[in-house]
């Protein structure tokens, strides 16, 4: 494996059982993540986009073993996170961090900021007592909070400030890799950019690698080096950000991009409005999962599932039409 690879995901599957009936028998599975493979390099930001229920958050949680996987491997620096013992995993948690979506439910309301941020330092035996307080204050100021905020409780802060506290809680451990699960989705527009810029600064300052999960394609474009687009538990397209936004290949990516409203009142945008809803992940369609909504469906799409293949220059797409050679849309 190359030295600069931080995470390598191989065929990760995560199914949730659906139990019904008197004896809670498992009658079906929600295929939340279905054979996803992905490589994340040191120092980059991988954007993971898709609509609700596409499995992006589940993938982020599963790869860190916050959810137990159904199958697959998650190699972090060549060690499979899934096969570690509970003790080893707990130790490794210091390096692998998670930023949560909801700044209101992600902070324990009964603890003050100093306890929230500093607790992990004690647990991992990194700092105690006065040294711990110093580290907490230092990290708070890095996250744009004042040292005197340390003794206050979460309810006194606004959503954006709470998200800063959440970020401070992860950064204080000096992690290597951070999964950010929709970190700005529940913030006001004027605050979103503050948090994104903060994350960008930390990336350089602390040498972080991010997996940035979002439904907001415009934010992902701004922050990511590579982007993976997910649909119904699978990766539909994966490419460098520049190539993906300049020349999207998968019909789903194209539709998704065209659906975002723009403030450019002069742009003569041709919008592709996809028909119908996203199918249920417990009963996915045959062949290509996207075929019932795709404007270019062919016979083959109904039967055969397209593989995620390189269509040139490290740009991967899972679409028969695109792969049929030069058939760029």
């Amino acid at each position: 494996m190359e030295a600069d690879v931080m995470f390598q995901l191989k065929n990760i599957q995560k199914f949730f059982p659906i139990r019904t009936g008197l004896f809670s028998r498992v009658t079906a599975h929600v295929r939340a993540v279905d054979k996803v493979s992905l490589t994340i390099r040191r120092g980059e930001t991988m954007g993971l986009v898709g609509e609700s229920g596409c499995g992006k958050s589940t993938l982020g949680r599963t790869m860190l073993h916050l959810l137990s996987p159904t199958s697959g491997e998650s190699l972090y620096k060549n060690r499979d996170v899934f096969s570690l013992s509970t003790q080893e995993l707990r130790k490794l948690r210091r390096e692998l961090q998670f930023i949560f979506q909801d700044p209101y439910s992600s902070l324990n309301p009964r603890l003050n900021v100093s306890e929230i941020v500093g607790e992990a330092l004690s647990v991992h035996g990194l700092a105690h007592g006065r040294e711990r307080d110093e580290r907490v204050k230092e990290i708070l100021s890095v996250c744009g909070l004042a040292p005197q905020h340390a003794k206050r409780y979460p309810h006194e802060f606004s959503g954006g400030q709470r998200q800063r506290i959440g970020i401070a809680r992860t950064l204080v451990l000096n992690p290597e890799f951070v999964v950010a699960d929709e970190p700005i989705a529940s913030l006001d527009v004027s605050i979103q950019a503050q948090i994104v810029n903060l994350m960008e600064e930390h990336k350089d300052q602390f040498g972080l690698t991010y997996l940035f999960i979002s439904h907001d394609l415009s934010m992902v474009k701004y922050i990511s080096d590579h982007v993976a687009v997910m649909y119904l538990g699978k990766i539909a397209e994966l490419s460098s950000t520049a190539a993906l936004y300049k020349d999207p290949q998968h019909p789903y990516t194209i539709a998704l991009m065209s659906a975002i409203p723009s403030i450019d009142v002069d742009a003569q945008k041709k919008r592709i409005v996809l028909q119908g809803d996203v199918p249920s992940p417990s009963h996915p369609p045959s062949g290509c999962y996207f075929h019932p909504r795709c404007p270019y469906t062919m016979e083959r799409c109904r039967i055969e599932e397209p593989k995620l293949r390189d269509i040139g220059g490290g740009h991967l797409a899972a679409c028969h039409l695109v792969q049929q050679g030069g058939g760029r849309l």
């Binding site: 006001d188 415009s218 659906a259 809803d277």
Partner: protein, 330 residues
């Protein structure tokens, strides 16, 4: 202000009492909307955009208090109407679409039952005719298999379908004015695109005026001919869509536009607005935006600027501009 005015609101203020004190959610808001026009209200949480609409419909919570110099809907003074008369206007001539349709439908009745109830109440049709009308409405909002969906309960529908049904409910009585309060915020972008397209189509077909509320500038840019920007309960800028997005005047509007990347416009850096949205209990003195404003001057800290006409149909509340529209300061 022509004769074509559908709704004319002058100096509306709304407040409500909470445990921690009086929240003045809307302050001196004046606006008008003509027949068939679309007006967008944009702003962040707590800016008073929803309360403005609830006040016009007189749907404020019981501890709420509405004051206005006048609030005229087709010449009728909404403030002096009795609750019974107001009920007739609501649903019949004015309707509302909410963010989360799950909570606006009663979960124990079918979609059809609730639609038919509204239709029969306001149009006086018999049962059979109402059922047909309800199925027609569902068809009109693009719901597949309307006969079947008519007999479904709300939980059986997806978010997008429920929002379509909600729209069917709102337009069932051909209202003259629809308030759409963040109708697509809970939906995915591809579903949002469907709903926005539907609303544009319907607005043309039935020639309804729409007040579209959103925090998303892009959605507002697509849905509204005129846009009103609110901050801390006040209007800070009103302009036609083109003027507002191409030539925004108020530092807050400019800040909002700069803080969000756009798919069509290349922007190498994001410039956030510093600080936080003010707590409605402690609105800053003077111009409420002054603690976050990059052009802040002494006068901004003490005195609230008036909403002045900068150009025709372009009003702004900011000390950077005087009555003649010349620019002060830097």
């Amino acid at each position: 202000m022509g004769v074509n005015e559908l709704l004319q609101v002058t100096n509306l203020s709304s407040s409500f009492q909470t445990e921690d004190g009086l929240v003045r959610a809307v302050r001196d808001v004046s606006f008008h909307i003509s027949h068939g026009e679309s007006l967008g209200i944009v702003g962040e949480s707590g800016c008073g955009k929803s309360v403005t609409c609830l006040s016009v419909m007189r749907l404020m919570e019981q501890n709420g208090r509405i004051e206005a110099d006048s609030m005229r809907f087709e010449g009728r003074d909404l403030l002096s109407l009795r609750e019974r008369q107001m009920q007739k206007i609501r649903g019949n001539e004015m309707a509302m679409i909410f963010q989360e349709p799950m909570t606006s439908f009663n979960p124990v009745f079918t979609i059809g039952f609730q639609l038919q109830e509204a239709i029969r109440l306001h149009q006086g049709l018999n049962k059979k005719a109402a059922r047909n009308a309800s199925i027609d409405m569902l068809k009109q909002v693009g719901i597949p298999r309307p006969e079947k969906i008519n007999d479904e309960y709300p939980h059986a529908l997806s978010g997008g379908m429920r929002q379509r049904a909600m729209i069917a409910m709102a337009i069932s009585c051909r209202p003259k004015l629809i308030f759409a309060d963040e109708p697509t915020t809970a939906l995915d972008v591809t579903i949002q695109a469907q709903i926005l397209e539907l609303m544009q189509k319907l607005q043309q077909e039935i020639h309804t005026a729409v007040v579209f509320i959103s925090h998303d500038l892009g959605v507002i840019a697509e849905m509204s001919e005129r846009v009103m920007v609110m901050y801390a309960g006040r209007i800070v800028e009103i302009a036609g869509r083109r003027n507002l997005f191409k030539d925004p005047k108020h530092p807050y509007t400019i800040g909002l536009i700069r803080s969000k990347p756009d798919m069509e416009i290349e922007s190498p850096v994001l410039t956030p607005i510093p600080g936080t949205v003010p707590n409605p209990l402690h609105t800053p003195p003077g111009c409420p935006y002054h603690p976050r404003c990059e052009h802040v001057m002494d006068i901004c800290r003490s005195t609230l600027p008036e909403l002045i006409s900068h150009e025709q149909m372009h009003q702004v509340r900011c000390w950077l501009y005087d009555q003649q529209g010349a620019v002060h300061g830097s």
